[in-house]
Symmetry: C4
Subunit: 231 residues, 4 copies
């Protein structure tokens, strides 16, 4: 079942090593069929070199395995929370890519420091608060999702306009209109984290870009007046 | 038409991924035929793996498309301003290469810190002032070109001697005697930005090189007394 | 003799260049047969491109060569001390991987700064004290092992839970349940050293993760309640 | 003539791109025949992809071209000074490798910060003083060699024990018992410059290693009591 989505999710997972976002098995990609409410995700701990489309695990939104012989990613419950609360997204990615992890471990947002950021993210990429002991001990992966949702709600950030978050002391989750789109955002997040880390070392006094420049770059690529590319 | 120039501009574009100057489609190269006053440029948003020489777009200096089925690069208007105001140049490159972007986001020139810099750039690579809201809202890409030209005029920098600029909070543009030459300068800019970033971290007190050493290295490679290479 | 172990140790050695952990011959991997009390190790100074399984050297735990035409790694005595004092380990790796060496040269532990670290190391990766002149002049490589063991004993660190150390002003040793497992730990150490170096530059004030998050991540991958992967 | 040496020098030049020490043509390697007092060196400005053994230029120690159709490297005069003053060396390398250039531009020695350094360099790698205007304007490349020699004489450094230097605001020269050996030293210099740069950022208070550890590591690889490798 869901052969096309399995293939897409498989291919999106294989983009993680291609773009140098993962060491060993430190990452996972999922996609969702919004009509059937079924999620396809990478199995846990399987090496990318050995991964096949058939190994993808199919679950419902409550986490029940519908098809698949392998355990799903240990981060599955986080993906499911994001699909439930962010109805417009259709793919989710988690990695431990080193520059995004640097900001996550530092407990800092990735500020919007230039047009490379603004072309994809309509404002800073937020870091969550630290999770409480009770949130870590019980239902950890589900509560990881909850703290992400809380971050976007409390800071009134639209998850379609900023399709990425840093979980404090952990690492990035990104999402998008498809599994591949979510990987695209993971690549951009890693690249702008690298650039902005170095900018902060070089000149922390000029880090936030002007809001009109942020608007211009985000809106020339997104929304009804976009004019970038071949649309 | 302009088959030879299209091929050259295509090949110069393909050097951007070769030299690791671009992620996804974040870059574009153009070239000009100075006799016909026609510019050839990469189409907007087309992946490098799928790019072909035939897809190159031909425009006049007012930005009218003379040949081509695809939209030209969204940065085309910036290229055109540079061709109009810098009559000696025949190729232009724009990228978001990370070390040059680091200085652009920091709002800082790349200072002339050593002979690697002086072999190519006859003085600091300037950063523009920040663009004003009115410049961003209307005719943004054209006004990006205007602020580059203003920077060179106000600081009395010869664009043939310093064939590169950082647009504030954005990234680098470089140019040269051909599309390939402009890419060459983009590679050098990225490399010296990396070296000089690290020098600034290690010892900010000795950053500017002696002017006679700058002269020596620039002039042993450029001008009538050059003796580097096989000329 | 020990053909299977030689092959394993050979393959584990070849992972060092694959994972960019070595320049030239700056690394070595060994494995042990705990029943026969024999150690198999890389020969000294042999380039990885020319290495063969047959060249592996077999020694007893006193350092006597049992089989092999080549000199064993100059670090052999350190490996032997680790096998004697840490009975649960079956593979040892030494490299000069640059991010781990950075912490070793700085004389600093790699602190547990995030879940990437906690997934593998149950606490900071310790740096040894500096070695004394008498320890360097006589039996240097054996005494390097002794100072590693002292570090784990004095700080009451379980070498199975933190399978890595930094020798002060020198570099990392890692170990594991097999030669390959020890290499795995060397890769993780390099990656977390890189991430945590940058975190320390960005925000030294939030460097230690909460102990309950450390517990959660370490224990979801290790021990009887682990649920990561396909076990 | 000198076909064997030309081949060796050609192959040593080709190691520069292999070890990522050069961008474009920013490097050159030479070798010497000490019986004939003839030097073989890379031609100036020829791309590595197009280089052939036959293109190598043969000169005497006064810089007269004995064989070859191409101009020799623009840095030839520096190589010749080193061969004249350091009679034990048989190969010389110049690059603009970025980590070594970082220290050169900062005007700082690469301190002996750990055993990776001590395995090859018996003490800090010195930076020269800045060159004076008169030294730059006249006979620049010869005087570059002179200032290197002055540095080793004034600081009483043995060029066989520290086969590398940083020319202030310029970059590294290394040398060795052959052209390949000189490249080996260029690789080590780049690697220890990278490591020690990061150590200086992390903990500048513990940068110099103990002299007995420096002795131990240098002498276990060099001299009559060396025991590293298969000698």
């Amino acid at each position: 079942m869901l052969e096309k989505l399995k293939q897409e999710v498989y291919e999106a997972n294989m983009l993680l090593p291609k773009y140098n976002l993962v060491t060993f098995t430190w990452g996972n990609v999922s996609g969702i069929d919004r009509e059937k409410n079924l999620v396809v995700i990478k199995p846990s701990g399987v090496a990318y070199e050995e991964l096949t489309p058939e190994q993808m695990v199919v679950l419902d939104l409550e986490g029940n395995i519908v098809e698949g012989d392998l355990n799903p990613s240990s981060d599955t419950a986080t993906h499911l929370v994001l699909y439930k609360h962010f109805p417009e997204i259709q793919g989710v990615v988690h990695t431990h890519s080193p520059w995004a992890v640097t900001f996550a471990q530092a407990g800092l947002d990735v500020p919007a420091a230039g047009t490379t950021h603004a072309d994809t993210f309509y404002g800073p990429v937020p870091v969550t608060r630290k999770m409480k002991e009770s949130e870590v001990v019980h239902d950890y992966e589900k509560q990881t999702g909850d703290v992400i949702v809380e971050t976007f709600e409390e800071r009134k950030i639209n998850p379609s306009e900023v399709p990425a978050v840093l979980v404090n002391d952990h690492g990035p989750f990104t999402w998008g209109k498809s599994a591949e789109d979510a990987v695209h955002h993971a690549v951009v997040l890693e690249e702008v984290s690298k650039m902005t880390y170095h900018t902060l070392q070089l000149n922390p006094h000029q880090i936030d870009m002007d809001s009109y420049l942020l608007d211009k770059h985000y809106l020339r690529k997104h929304g009804k007046n976009a004019y970038y590319g071949q649309q």
